[in-house]
Symmetry: C2
Subunit: 397 residues, 2 copies
């Protein structure tokens, strides 16, 4: 944890001042600060934003920088899952190397925290988790990585997966993952009871992928809400995607959103362009904590995406029909302080006492910075400069 004096920045796009970080924590903001012996960076009037929150991605999946992957398959979901599980070894998708590439690009684009799911399945055992843990260790000090143990191929339909989940959670995974209790696991009660029991045993939060559309998704969501209440896990549960909220009648979706808000269940959205996604305006108006994520980036599932939360905020904005400056500022909140709240972090801002984690943005105001999506002039983590002019200060393997 370092000391750093940043001169002439505009916190959250406000008036220019200096910002002093001491021991990795923001100590003071004021014009004309002086701190003898402390390294100085000149922000040249750039906007400063708290480091971005990547609240939903898969660091174990990208083929970034590998030979072109020509063997992508069409849907449905089960095809994509099986194809990936079967192809990982054949194409040499080495998780430590690939997750280093992915995470270092996220460093360069100004990310403070990544919540990454990692596949736990009986074909690969804990090896993908181990690869990601190595990346977490290698990048400590540059970026924080939360690991979700994720039974991508199903929990109930693939015996042995539950034991692996237990092992991985005992070995450092932070969060209990899951997906589609009906559509993939064909046993919503069995799966959700098992996941909540795991969470209780390990004292860890939950984050469940819910791709299920319409009333099937609503049913699964209700079952998650019931267990959140029964296990007194309010504030500790998240639902990723929650596509059903985008395809249900508005009044039905609104009632579910009210329940999510009441039980403190967060929603992680990716703004998936091809899916019906929850309306960001409605989620926020209902009081649901919302985070955003880039999801998989150039992986065996699809060729799209960039490891950059500003780029994802653009996708989310286009999807939600956002146009005004106020709406663009909502997006910057979702990938900033709002997203931090969604993953359960408090005090994520540019105030004294907050972590010395920030990113400088090019643009005259926050809305323009989001539109320009230009390379980030400087990224700071715990008072240390970790990226400059869009490149991380460490070689990408």
């Amino acid at each position: 944890m370092s000391d750093l004096l940043l001169r002439n920045l505009r916190p959250m796009g406000g008036p220019a001042c200096d910002l002093l970080i001491r021991g990795g924590t923001i100590a003071e903001l004021a014009p004309g600060l002086d701190a003898p012996g402390v390294p100085v960076e000149d922000a040249r009037g750039a906007i400063a934003w708290p480091g971005f929150i990547e609240a939903h991605t898969h660091l174990d999946k990208t083929v970034w920088g590998m030979d072109w992957y020509a063997d992508r398959k069409g849907g449905p979901l089960q095809n994509l899952i099986d194809n990936e599980r079967n192809d990982r070894n054949r194409i040499g998708l080495e998780v430590h190397r690939q997750s280093m590439r992915h995470a270092l690009h996220l460093v360069a684009s100004g990310t403070r925290i990544i919540r990454s799911h990692v596949d736990v399945d009986t074909d690969h055992g804990r090896s993908l988790f181990d690869g990601l843990q190595a990346t977490r260790a290698a990048l400590a000090g540059m970026i924080e990585i939360e690991i979700v143990a994720f039974p991508q191929s199903g929990l109930m339909v693939r015996p042995g997966t539950l034991d692996l989940m237990d092992t991985v959670l005992a070995s450092g995974a932070d969060i209990v993952g899951g997906l589609d209790p009906c559509a993939i696991d064909r046993d919503p009660k069995g799966q959700l009871d098992a996941l909540f029991a795991l969470a209780e045993k390990h004292g860890k939060p939950i984050d469940i992928h819910l791709h299920e559309p319409g009333e099937m998704g609503a049913f699964s969501m209700e079952m998650i809400l019931e267990r959140t209440r029964a296990h007194a896990m309010q504030g500790q549960v998240a639902i990723s995607h929650a596509f059903c909220l985008g395809s249900l009648p508005e009044s039905r979706a609104a009632a579910l959103m009210a329940d999510l808000a009441r039980e403190g269940v967060a929603v992680m959205t990716t703004g998936s362009p091809s899916a019906s996604v929850p309306a960001l305006r409605a989620l926020r108006a209902a009081g649901v904590r919302v985070g955003a994520g880039c999801d998989g980036i150039r992986d065996t599932w699809g060729p799209w995406g960039l490891p950059d939360m500003l780029h994802r905020a653009q996708i989310l904005g286009m999807k939600n029909g956002f146009r005004t400056d106020a709406e663009l500022e909502v997006l910057l909140d979702v990938i900033g302080p709002g997203g931090a709240g969604a993953i359960g972090r408090k005090g994520h801002g540019l105030d004294p006492g907050a972590p010395g984690d920030l990113v400088l943005l090019a643009g005259s105001c926050p809305a323009e910075a989001l539109t320009l999506c230009a390379p980030r002039p400087l990224v700071v983590k715990g008072g240390a400069v970790v990226a400059r002019n869009g490149a991380p200060l460490r070689d990408i393997p």
Copy 2:
């Protein structure tokens, strides 16, 4: 029109060869060509694609490079239209300068032809058209610009607009534009009769924006189809957006697509992320000619978009849930030969006799080139190099 020998390129991603352009036209493709006295460019094994077709944009609208436009409004459509018309002069949106910026970025990203709508309304008279015509003249030899006379603020609801349309079409506009005969003009019969009469008088094709959803849009589409038949304008009519095809029941949309194919009515899609758009797979399967466009780029309507057809193809691909290499090649056809067909151009390919208009792409195969969306190494128009390494060979004002 120039001569040029391109060495070591891969036409459409196929085997490497040389390509000779003589007098602006492709003369020969073969390995080891020799052409004494002809300028040579080394393509270093890059993929070559026919120059992209930007089939739907608005060169008269962008605020690119101007001060941040903070006054965007929310919908509905009428708000966005009125706000733009009222704000153009206040913010100094000078159409010649702005369309030069927009068009030169399209040159740099490898575009051969732009079909641009230009607003014709009683507040601005023909001035926006004149600004765009100046740009067309200034960039002759670098890019082709088709101008659609577009009554953005309505034809029937704003008396005087029809006369202006007539004037502009007599002064060099290439295509009769229109929009939303029901929702905006409140007189579908009146508007469409007037537009088809204009087209007949000037002997020019038609391209109508259709944002209307569901059965209202289907009704307007039927009226356009009826008039296409009655005026024997098969192959001369296009519908831009055609959002209704994305919100109707599949069987109803399929019947309309069959009618569009039968009457040779093309569809120009933008893959609008926030709207229900026609399914690209279904349109192509029905035999509808499809072009794609970036629509407005960073204008008073919204802050999104880039003047780059590869970027638009990505948006279109994400929206349509495309993943496989074959699907990515469909996208490259829609912005290439397929798009040329949609705007009524034949012989748009890399064959002898075709225009010497091409773009080099970085990537091992066309699908990877689309994914990477890297700066274009070289853009050639009529045998002349017009852009290199992502920058046009002319200053951007």
